[in-house]
């Protein structure tokens, strides 16, 4: 055995290690940045995908914001309740589940209801389609149905069916609002989760124009406004608006609406699968369209 070699090896690796160890030690004292140890703990608890759905540039800034008290403990949208519980435990505060809203697309018109004015064959992006001559739809307010919101959704809560209509799976939607930002027509709104009666049209043209381009649009007829016992509905910009604070969801407006623009959205009943029985593709498809409208 070559003892000299071993000694030299120990010096060659040990020397730098002493040097750099000391360097790091000095740096960790001299350049210490006061950080709350909870930041790291919270960071560990978050989902760690850096998805940005919470509105912070990444999980680390979000964790810092939570510890500083700037963000609530349920900041992690994608992580949902389990993560919120873990964060609340670290922060030592009781978890108050802030009821998150749910996304709503303010347009009901699919291919069958809303008239096209041109055939669009460009890239599959609403923003691009919107830029070309104001979109392919005759209605200049309606949904273009190319699925930019669907692509933006981190939890796959948005579905576009064969008729070009949009559905939001309410049980999946976390109300993060990423879809709101990407919609070039500003059709998506985060509404309170317990709000069931909703206006699903954003057309602000006069009735005469609106009626020509779409069979399911708001024509500002004011019937709902009159029918509402609480004065929760108002008409401006040629469409109906519901004040969610005042609305008691009685559904009288739904009955009078001539174009079925006001609808009640209810969660579909949860079906229980029998063990060992895998539903066929078609059945599963139906199941996915969880939110149905009751006109």
């Amino acid at each position: 055995m070559d003892w000299m070699l071993l000694g030299k090896a120990a010096i060659a690796l040990g020397g730098p290690s002493v040097l750099f160890g000391a360097l790091l030690a000095i740096a960790s004292v001299r350049f210490k940045v006061e950080t709350d140890p909870r930041v790291d703990e919270v960071f560990e608890a978050l989902l760690g995908g850096n998805c940005g759905a919470c509105g912070y540039p990444g999980c680390q800034p979000a964790a810092e914001a939570v510890v500083k008290g700037k963000a609530p403990v349920d900041v992690c949208v994608a992580g949902g309740r389990p993560v919120a519980e873990a964060v609340a435990k670290i922060m030592g505060v009781p978890l108050q589940v802030r009821e998150r809203g749910v996304a709503l697309v303010h347009c009901k018109g699919g291919f069958n209801e809303s008239l096209p004015k041109a055939i669009y064959e460009g890239i599959s992006s609403c923003a691009a389609a919107d830029k070309i001559a104001g979109g392919w739809k005759a209605c200049s307010y309606g949904c273009l149905g190319l699925g930019t919101c669907k692509a933006a959704c981190p939890v796959n809560a948005i579905i576009i069916d064969e008729d070009g209509r949009r559905w939001v799976r309410r049980e999946k939607c976390t109300g993060c609002g990423l879809c709101v930002e990407v919609c070039p027509r500003g059709l998506i709104e985060i509404v309170p989760r317990d709000q069931e009666v909703l206006v699903v049209c954003n057309n602000r043209d006069k009735a005469s124009i609106a009626r020509e381009v779409c069979s399911v649009c708001c024509i500002a007829c004011r019937k709902c406004e009159k029918a509402c016992p609480n004065g929760a509905i108002s008409i401006h910009d040629n469409r109906a608006w519901i004040d969610y604070e005042k609305c008691d969801q009685c559904g009288k407006c739904i009955e009078v609406c001539p174009n079925n623009v006001i609808v009640r959205v209810v969660p579909a009943p949860v079906r229980r699968r029998k063990k060992g029985k895998v539903p066929s593709a078609t059945i599963r498809k139906v199941e996915r369209l969880i939110d149905r409208e009751i006109p």
Partner: protein, 206 residues
């Protein structure tokens, strides 16, 4: 050979002909994660340039004044260099965090990623053990040559990652087969870019 011309050849070879990402396949790990946005790519490219230059300088000194004279370079170069890189990266992170928070926000968050960036170790090793990367440069680098070489490598890394992220940002709206969306199409782009970079082979006889 003219001194300046030799420097130029070393630089060009590192930058294009033996591009560290597309021809040598080094440092791909963080590449696909980072390159989805132009902004992060620029941050990463800058941090790589900074860390790589520093790591090479220190490794060069360690090799020529410690490892080689002691005759233990043959089996200790990996631990020593990687120790140097890891410690340096951590040190720089601490210092930047304290001294300049804006710089830290722009660059600091990429620093931990760089410890495991193969490019830094590879460039540091190449500059003292020629032939490590099969760079066709058959002599020992002097310190300025090592630095020029490293800067070339780092700029080559930056060039590709920024170019690549621009392409990826544009391709986000393109109609791509569903299965290929996201990372798989990025690999296909990388293949095409790699083909293009193969065209630099034997440029100026490097």
């Amino acid at each position: 050979m003219n001194e300046a011309y030799r420097y130029f050849l070393i630089f060009l070879g590192a930058l294009l002909v033996y591009n560290i990402l597309l021809i040598r396949f080094i440092a791909l790990c963080a590449f696909f994660g980072i390159s989805s946005q132009v902004e992060t790519s620029i941050g990463m490219a800058m941090s790589v340039l900074f860390v790589m230059t520093m790591a090479t300088a220190v490794s060069w000194i360690a090799w020529n004044y410690i490892l080689h004279p002691l005759g233990v370079g043959e089996f200790l170069y990996i631990p020593v260099f990687i120790l140097i890189i890891a410690a340096l990266v951590q040190f720089v992170e601490m210092v930047i965090r304290k001294i300049s928070p804006p710089l830290y926000r722009g660059m600091g968050i990429y620093l931990p990623l760089i410890t495991t960036n193969c490019a830094v170790l590879a460039a540091a090793t190449e500059s003292v053990k020629p032939g490590f990367l099969k760079m066709n440069i058959a002599y020992h680098f002097s310190l300025p040559e090592a630095l020029i070489y490293t800067i070339g490598v780092a700029l080559g890394y930056g060039l590709v990652i920024i170019m690549f992220s621009c392409i990826r940002e544009r391709i986000k709206t393109a109609p791509i087969p569903h299965s290929f969306k996201g990372i798989p199409i990025a690999f296909i782009i990388a293949a095409l870019l790699s083909l293009a970079f193969m065209g630099f082979a034997n440029l100026l006889g490097i």
